[in-house]
């Protein structure tokens, strides 16, 4: 794996909100077909870090490389142009619109006159939902009327639909039932096999141990360390998260 160029490298990223150093000199990378888990307490800076990659925030300093070349990501549009897709922790859905409108928001299917083609979008949404979550059946209500799990399905589908090469998942299973969670795990493995790189943020250590190849742990905005999942135990990960100590480091 180390011979390939990383899909993404984030180097020495800094970002402060007022006085708070939300992300403080963090570097992470991601290879094709790899899942990297981002772990850390509430407020550790995980979401902020990945929002720099997805274009939602701009770093105060630091560099981003995609396929080994420096990338300029100033807004979500730029990130999408690099095939970086994101499932946000907040889902980022327009609650007043239906599933299809949300799935295609900003990238509507249009007809030859440039007019939005709702029927075509609904048909596509039905097709992909049939594959990703066959239990999903509400295509006409605004997503405000959907359950938490259904809303999460919409957000996941949106990220997967547009041929992502780099996928960011910020707690994608938080609102899902066991069956849907299992389906997301399957999806992740399938995407991995397709050579897509995934940043996965999760608080569930077991999820992480099962799905990830490597983990990067953050604490108070700083990177504690990055480890291969096969090299560490659950307890060692926990101690990285809670105490901010790398394995083997003296107490």
């Amino acid at each position: 794996m180390d011979k390939k160029t990383p899909l993404v490298e984030m180097k020495n990223i800094h970002l402060s909100f007022g006085g708070i150093k939300a992300v403080d000199d963090v570097s992470v990378d991601l290879y094709p077909g790899e899942v990297v888990g981002l772990l850390g307490h509430n407020g550790a800076g995980k979401s902020t870090l990945i929002k720099v990659l997805s274009g939602a925030y701009q770093a105060d300093s630091g560099e981003i490389y995609v396929d080994g070349e420096q990338a300029t990501i100033n807004n979500p549009r730029d990130a999408r142009a690099y095939n970086i897709e994101t499932i946000y922790q907040t889902l980022a859905l327009a609650d007043n619109l239906d599933a299809a409108s949300n799935l295609f928001l900003g990238r509507e299917i249009v007809n030859q006159f440039g007019l939005v083609d709702d029927d075509a979008m609904e048909a596509e949404t039905r097709r992909i939902m049939g594959r990703l979550n066959p239990n999903f059946d509400n295509f006409s209500s605004p997503v405000a009327a959907l359950s938490g799990g259904q809303r999460q399905s919409v957000a996941i589908t949106r990220a997967v639909y547009f041929n992502a090469r780099i996928l960011i998942m910020d707690e994608p299973t938080a609102a899902l039932g066991p069956q849907e969670t299992e389906m997301v795990a399957e999806l992740i493995n399938q995407l991995k096999a397709d050579g897509i790189g995934i940043f996965l943020i999760s608080h569930d250590i077991h999820d992480v141990m099962d799905l990830c190849d490597r983990i990067s742990v953050m604490k108070n905005g700083k990177l504690v360390g990055t480890e291969n999942v096969t090299d560490v135990t659950d307890d060692e990960i926990l101690s990285m998260i809670i105490l901010g100590k790398k394995p083997g480091q003296a107490a």
Binding site: S54, A56, N75, P76, R77, R80, T86, Y88, T90, L91, A92, L93, A94, D95, N96, L97, S101, N102, L105, G106, R107, E108, V110, G114, L115, V116, D119, A120, E122, A123, P142, A144, A145
Partner: protein, 422 residues
């Protein structure tokens, strides 16, 4: 509501809230008709009602977009007055000097200038709101004062009159109507267009393999649309021109007026035609263009819209520019109707427009609203005002009633939405 009615409404795919609004309007009309001894539901009164509603309703369609994106525009009444003054001065004092009095192009140049000015002023206010982040409430409150003052300045407070004769037709006086033949043509074309659109939509959905609505539902919907359009044409055609106008009409055509008089129909008023065209265009923009989609997405969740790559600041500029352009169209209607532009043109219109949009189901919390709802809201507002005036309700009581109705309408809307889980 009765369960079978509910099912019927759901099957033909009309929003329940729309049914409620139309129901309220019809109830209002019937009550006023009873209290006025049958003077309310006459072709004459309905014609006047339609003309009086047009200006506010045109602005209300734009206010829907403004409120849907979680903003407000308090400047529309003052801006209407300012643009009216500019257009008045242009067509009365300036253009005739260069083109000669009554030149055919005066009204076109005037409207073009007015609409451009409205769009530019709106865009400027939108830029302050979107890019400099000053709340819309403040920017447009400032605008209210600025444009009202600017309107006075244009002529030092003097009324401008009379407006160009062609321009005047756009206000819907006894000559500013389609007449019966054109009204029928308009009605038939509108009906055919509505039916063709329904058939096409059904075909498109069938092509994608969606379960279609039952046929009887399609037929009912088509029937309702035909009934409303044709009913409107019939009523407008049933209102004859007054004697004086008939004389002018006959003279212009070298006709003899028989002893029993001549029945010449008003037909649909031109400002109402303008309103209907604006309504169709705005609905189209809302439903079928990316811009419209982004307006609603941004209102529903500004962060989500931003994260989807939508430039919400530029969107704000466009929404306010559109509002400004529609205000100019409303100004054309209002000044053409009066035949002159005075200092008080459009005073308090901002409140009527906002009330119309809100009564029509536009939510101030953003993301929700329809163009047809706002137009019906404007009709309800105008019906209340004219109806109470006809019944002889005192002006202070009129304003109390309108105020109470506004709050009640929003209360009903919020309750309905909460029940429906939206």
């Amino acid at each position: 509501m009765n369960k079978s009615i509910k099912n019927f409404v759901a099957a033909i795919g009309i929003d329940l809230r729309l049914v409620g609004m139309v129901g309220a309007l019809v109830a209002l009309w019937v009550v006023f008709d009873l209290f006025t001894g049958g003077r309310f539901l006459t072709p004459r009164n309905l014609f006047n009602l339609s003309v009086q509603t047009a200006s506010v309703a045109v602005m209300a369609t734009g206010m829907v977009f403004v409120i849907v994106t979680r903003h407000i525009d308090l400047s529309v009444g003052a801006l209407l007055g300012f643009i009216g003054m500019i257009m008045g001065t242009l067509q009365v004092h300036i253009l005739p000097q260069y083109l000669g009095l009554g030149h055919w192009s005066i009204w076109i140049i005037t409207i073009f200038a007015g609409v451009s000015l409205g769009a530019v002023v709106g865009a400027f206010q939108g830029w302050i709101i979107g890019y400099l982040m000053v709340p819309a409430f403040i920017v447009t409150l400032g605008g209210l004062l600025v444009w009202r003052g600017a309107a006075w300045w244009v002529t030092q407070g003097q009324t401008v009159a009379p407006v160009d004769t062609t321009f005047r037709l756009l206000g819907g006086g006894s000559e500013g109507t389609l007449g019966d033949t054109l009204s029928w043509t308009f009605g038939v074309l509108a009906t055919v267009a509505a039916l063709v659109m329904m058939i096409q939509s059904r075909r498109r959905r069938a092509k994608h393999g969606f379960t279609p609505k039952p046929l009887w539902a399609e037929y009912s919907l088509g029937g309702i649309a035909t009934f409303i359009i044709m009913g409107f044409v019939i009523v407008m055609n049933a209102y004859p021109l007054p004697k004086g106008a008939v004389k002018r009409y006959a003279a212009a055509r070298d006709m003899e007026i028989p002893a029993e008089g001549l029945f010449i129909s008003h037909g649909i008023a031109i400002p109402v035609v303008i309103l209907l065209l604006v309504g169709v265009a705005m609905t189209f923009v809302a439903k079928r263009t990316r811009f419209g989609r982004y307006v609603f997405a941004t209102g529903g969740n500004p962060d989500a819209a931003e994260l989807s790559g939508i430039n919400t600041r530029m969107l704000t500029v466009k929404v306010f520019a559109l509002m400004g352009a529609l205000t100019a169209i409303a100004s054309v209607i209002a000044s053409a109707r009066l035949g002159s532009v005075g200092n008080d043109l459009g005073v308090l219109d901002e409140l009527r427009v906002i009330a119309a949009a809100v009564i029509g189901g536009t939510a101030l919390s953003g993301g929700i609203g329809t163009i047809h709802g706002a137009i019906i809201g404007a009709v309800i507002m105008q019906s209340l005002q004219s109806g109470m005036a006809m019944v002889g309700v005192d002006a202070p009581l009129q304003s109390i009633v309108v105020g109470v109705v506004l709050v009640l309408a929003v209360l009903v809307d919020i309750t309905y939405r909460r029940r429906a889980g939206l």
